[in-house]
Symmetry: D2
Subunit: 344 residues, 4 copies
């Protein structure tokens, strides 16, 4: 069946498998000290136009979020996030497990607003008894968000400004970073994004790799003893080469961006077909995740032909349906979905 | 250069890469709910003659140790281990990070003694003020040990008996399990080992896989909500298929055991050559890790030709040298080492 | 100056100091194993009509909340609380420090609604991917609430019913329990409250003691090794006698209830005076905390004569003012406040 | 019965109770911001000749150790202590609960040796793979030790030098500090001790107070947000006045030192009587704890008349008996013990 369930249901781009095969019997040192990790880091630094960046590869998104946030927050600090932020409610309490509160603020189209962060910080500092509260020590956002929406450059500058003002880091979860950067609505470049934040990660798991995320500390600001911290979290891969090789491949010949662009093309076709068919969008997403409001019976009918997930109820008779494209989505998949929609 | 540095310096057995290629574009559900994970679990249950075993795949050894131990200990419990146990001093405090003390007991030839565990448990229970101490709630051993040595069946039965007596689980770290089971000195079968302990893990990272460890709860005793616990630890892989497929391959046609046997054959040749050359063993290991006491200048000379690690000092002029074989060690590697030794 | 700042600004009832003096040189065993702790527990069990209750004394409220919640939740569980619950935002992340998420739900007059808890639990269980979320494993409420309001018996029964249905404990924070039970609006008895919940604590710090809270596990359900858990949290007092003696005194001749009643009488006089003066209440509290909406300049004028705290802004020109009575509030204090109000 | 069980079996010096009575109804701000805390801090600074010291009061010893160590260690760090150090095995894993390993080194007469610390630090730094180990980030000692012994000034200077060399803090647990400083064998002053270490605590619970310990950061080096950290640990007392008042009293007219001196006088009489009677000491303690090797039947006979604890076995027929004096020990207690010994 044609699947639009998520962006991690396939393996990896063929180039990655090819290079795993080619390098398989090379004897390489462990824990990320191999030549492929070095090469990948250099390519990422170049892509970010950020020669001073510290880069560390980890296996998955929740793991990366937990290690980055725990390592950059003081023990008494919490992290501000949107109520629908991935760390707020989709990571099984992995942040709290490390002892830190996720401070959930209201969300608009999947996004956190700078003015809400500003008010929260201001109230904290103006409260004479703030020693009794969790210190708001970091801001977390996702680009694109969990609803496929994008912050504008202006919104990012505002968030970054609040963080600068209060001297706390801005962290961008880029699990689907490529799908954001290749969106027609994206008004920011990767180097600009790297400059605006203090740390972000480039998602591999959902964008062409078997697994792997690259945490980029953009201001030579990776916490000291980071590999010890990662190991303590169970996040230091013995064969770090596997991560290095994958990111080296993704950042060769713009592969990461080309496959992201493909996923966006697929998504835009679907979006236009939904629109032409007069279906109701839950919100307008310019990236690889598309959300519709559908009657439950239409959902069930469509699921006979197409695999996709519902994403909560609207009312007793309607649900939100989510359609995800990815680097592995084919034109046949898209055509099949568009055909199936026509018969709804 | 021929490398005997460790057993995780190469990629994976070719069969694994082949199957990754074959299944790459299949659309599969995430987080270990795919058919390859199911198939791998069935094959492992069969290999362990343990139809009621609960099995969970994770990415690395430190991660597996932390998740298994944290999930099976009560919050007020600690885990007993040998002073040289991997969790005691080679995992960056990953167990303490989860809030549990590692209670280090003396070590003999890399092994923990049942009588020492017995005395510790007895003293704990006879102390009227034991409420002020950490509850010793689990026993951890490695098979083979960090020094390549093996517990005899009798020693394992004794350790298991102490655990039964005090009603605490026995956990066996099998990072190199295959290399233990295929040793000529091994007097226990995998089903027997599974029966004796409460939980163990089958190491893949060091035995033919790209990465991956299979935690086996042998008495249908996997803690509830285990996948939530794993996710909370950052240890739930999105594309669980990668773990399932690798273990499915390793447990097809006895591949795991065949490649382990090969590594042991390589190690025994080396051992015999060392012995014939009159070199001094640090201890006698019947598995893939061989330890010599060497003069520092001999170490430096040999390292011109062969890659290997030293493992601490003996005195100012002598060090312990460790030689590791693995599934990827070739006869040429071994011949080169044997040649090099002759010229020492 | 007459103070209505909080209910912990004075020392203790004179009976407590007298008994500390009388027993001072007795040689007594430590850690709560003395005769005064035993006697206090018996008296509390009698007052709760709960002969099977397990009771444990701790020093302060945040400490008690952290130890009780951490010990009763599974490692993968979070605790549901009102957004304004004390554990949600006034305890510096002490719950998250122990690894657990506080799941904040909307608040109405300081109270959590059973239907909101019900919906949250239902959604959790109906979500096919709930393994990726924090398990909602406990419900926390305060009686009275942080805004001085009281749950009705019916509301408590509803909350308890949801907890029973989903088999999770209901925990009541009774930092100011006496002030709730002695309110004219209270429609529940202490034995009824004890029956409805699984664990609650009787606050001493704010109700007549120098310090101390009595955690009451009402169904013989105190977690095993609780004193080890408490010690691990730094919450096991060496001279437990001090806690036992204070609660023994408070639960002799109904002292706890008599002094609570006094505080309520004082509060009701203030409330009536505010009402007579036509001042605007922020909300209607039937207990020892009274909240007014006041002009900022009126606040400043009144603070020349009376000590009290503001509790957030209403708008740029108005604030919420909080007036707290306690066991130590005198008729002169109240008269001074009433006089001062008249001149506003 | 005359008790030598421990130094926390009585209440408090009468001066403390008197001042609690005198100040009981004063309305004072909470959480340590009252005038008595300020006054006590000034007096402690003067006694330490350390005008720049930051001081924070907490309730008990385990709590103080956990908060101080957790706040001063980086997240990836462990604390070095003697195997018999209080944090190593008598605090229920309270340090590990905060995520940090206690690195236990060998003990001599209850003491940690500078050379052992030096070797451990050196080995850590010289190991090329030290990123995989816990960072040894602090040294913990007790003065006097858990066996009543004292470090000489020279030994303290050596330990402090190793810490300086490796730039890690030296922390002194002074649960019984007064009993150490007033020992005839003490060759160090309180100001000298304060200079040598980075942080220490002055024990109140065992030296005349109802409860309370004063953590002294001697180089204006109290971690930022310390009160938030303390609250997060459940260690911030609402009525901080109780701690301030007790330490203010203890540091008025040298009360702390006078009552400590009394306990030492009592202990020395006992020691001399044991010696005169030809009894065998387990080790030679110049402070308030005296340890004998006694036949089990002699222990049982003596326990008919005198309360004291045994402290482990020597062999099947002999145990170690511990006799503790304190500020509350009377001449009658001592005479009774000496009489009882004579009839052994």
């Amino acid at each position: 069946m044609h699947s639009f369930e998520s962006d991690y249901t396939a393996g990896a781009r063929v180039e990655i498998l090819r290079r795993l095969n080619e390098t398989n019997l090379e004897q390489l040192p462990g824990y990320g000290s191999d030549k492929y990790c070095e090469s990948a880091k250099e390519k990422i630094r170049a892509a970010c136009d950020c020669p001073g960046a510290d880069i560390f590869f980890m296996v998955g998104g929740t793991q990366t979020n937990a290690v980055v946030i725990d390592s950059m927050l003081p023990s008494y600090g919490g992290v501000i996030a949107a109520q629908t932020g991935h760390i707020s409610d989709h990571e099984a309490g992995a942040i709290e497990f490390t002892g830190h509160k996720v401070i959930a603020l209201p969300v608009y189209d999947g996004k956190l607003r700078a003015e809400d962060v500003w008010m929260y910080m201001k109230d904290y500092w103006q409260d004479a008894s703030h020693q009794h509260f969790v210190y708001p020590g970091m801001v977390y956002i996702s680009y694109p968000t969990e609803f496929g929406t994008l912050y504008t450059k202006r919104e990012l500058v505002e968030l970054a400004s609040v963080c600068r003002w209060y001297n706390i880091p801005l962290y961008i979860d880029g699990a689907r970073l490529g799908y954001g950067l290749m969106s027609p609505k994206c008004d920011i470049t990767l180097p600009e994004l790297a400059q605006l934040c203090d740390v972000f990660y480039i998602g591999g798991t959902k964008v062409g790799a078997l697994f792997g995320e690259a945490a980029v500390f953009t201001k030579h600001n990776m916490p000291r003893y980071f590999s010890t911290i990662a190991k303590q979290h169970g996040a230091l891969l013995a064969k770090g080469r596997l991560l290095g090789l994958q990111f080296d491949t993704l950042f060769t010949d713009d592969l990461y961006f080309r496959i992201s662009k493909h996923a966006i093309n697929m998504a835009m076709q679907i979006r236009d077909a939904f629109d032409a068919r007069g279906l109701q969008f839950y919100l307008h997403s310019p990236t690889n995740l598309q959300f519709l409001i559908m009657e439950n019976k239409a959902v069930r009918a469509l699921q006979q032909k197409i695999a996709f997930h519902t994403w909560g109820k609207v009312d007793e008779e309607h649900s939100v349906a989510r359609f995800a494209t990815s680097w592995s989505t084919t034109q046949e998949d898209v055509d099949a979905l568009i055909d199936a929609i026509k018969t709804l």
